[in-house]
Amino acid sequence: MGWTLMIHGGAGSMRRGQLAEADDAAGRAGLSAALEAGAAILRDGGSALDAVEAAVKVLEDDPAFNAGRGSVFTWDGRIECDAAIMDGRDRNAGAVAGVTATRHPVSLAREVMANSAHVLLSAAGADAFSKEHGLEQADQAWFAIPERRRQLDEMKARPEGAFDSGMKYG
């Protein structure tokens, strides 16, 4: 039996011909790094669960992608992250929504799965759970990048576009 890892990463514009060379390169570099992080685990006989967490953590740290560092802004100018993880062996699962201060939200989701009686924690409660369980914290400045702020300003300048499908999906 072999192993396989697949990943996806939302990074903004996806129109062929409109994607800047630098953005294209940044996206590809991020994907490559994430693949390698997960593949290294699987290659050594590690678990699928560890591999998906490792791959997603790399993408969360990469400002090219809309997750973790590089997340988009809410209407109120905050960054709120969501994440989930699920283990196919026993359908154990964990998830968090609206968390604001955990560097790797996917690891917080795994902590919910592994060390709580619950599946989904949200907002301030999930932030508190994160601190109590010793997850690495990060302030809002860590997550924020100028391009996402510009996108928020653009969105607020045309409030009829309350749903950003035009911006994200062309």
Binding site: M14, E53, N66, A162, S165
Partner: protein, 132 residues
């Protein structure tokens, strides 16, 4: 939104998804990513799946669980199920895509957008990266 699915040497699958959501979201809006069964699902009897796109549509379809359920209950190939579901997503106005892998190692992506940042690697396949 970012995500990963994997099957390991023991034939176990897992899925993970993470997102900052939608630009300018309000009212405490939550999309499909943290909802088990909508944007993320894994079941060794079927597959693991992670989704990206217009989350409200993935929630309405229960897409991640739906894919796994059809594989498990109908015995269809992943290629058939993914095409059915991407068509269904489009019919209700949804945009985006997903990645899925089965315990047997079948791995596929599907999307109805101009592109999707994606990659895959396996024990017998070098890393592949694609956007469009």
């Amino acid at each position: 939104t970012v995500g990963a699915v994997a099957v390991d040497e023991a034939g176990h699958v897992a899925a993970a998804t993470s997102t900052g959501g939608l630009t300018a979201k309000r009212w405490g809006r939550i999309g499909d990513s943290p909802l088990i069964g909508a944007g993320t699902y894994a079941d060794d009897r079927a597959a693991a799946i992670s989704c990206t796109g217009s989350g409200e549509h993935f929630i309405r379809l229960g897409l991640a669980h739906e894919l796994c359920a059809r594989l498990r209950l109908c015995g269809d190939e992943l290629s058939i199920v993914e095409q059915d579901l991407i068509a269904e997503l489009g019919r209700i106005g949804g945009k985006g895509g997903f990645i899925a892998v089965t315990p047997e190692g079948d791995a596929r992506w599907a999307f109805n957008t101009p592109g999707m940042y994606r990659g895959r690697v396996s024990h017998d396949l070098e890393a592949q990266i694609a956007i469009f």
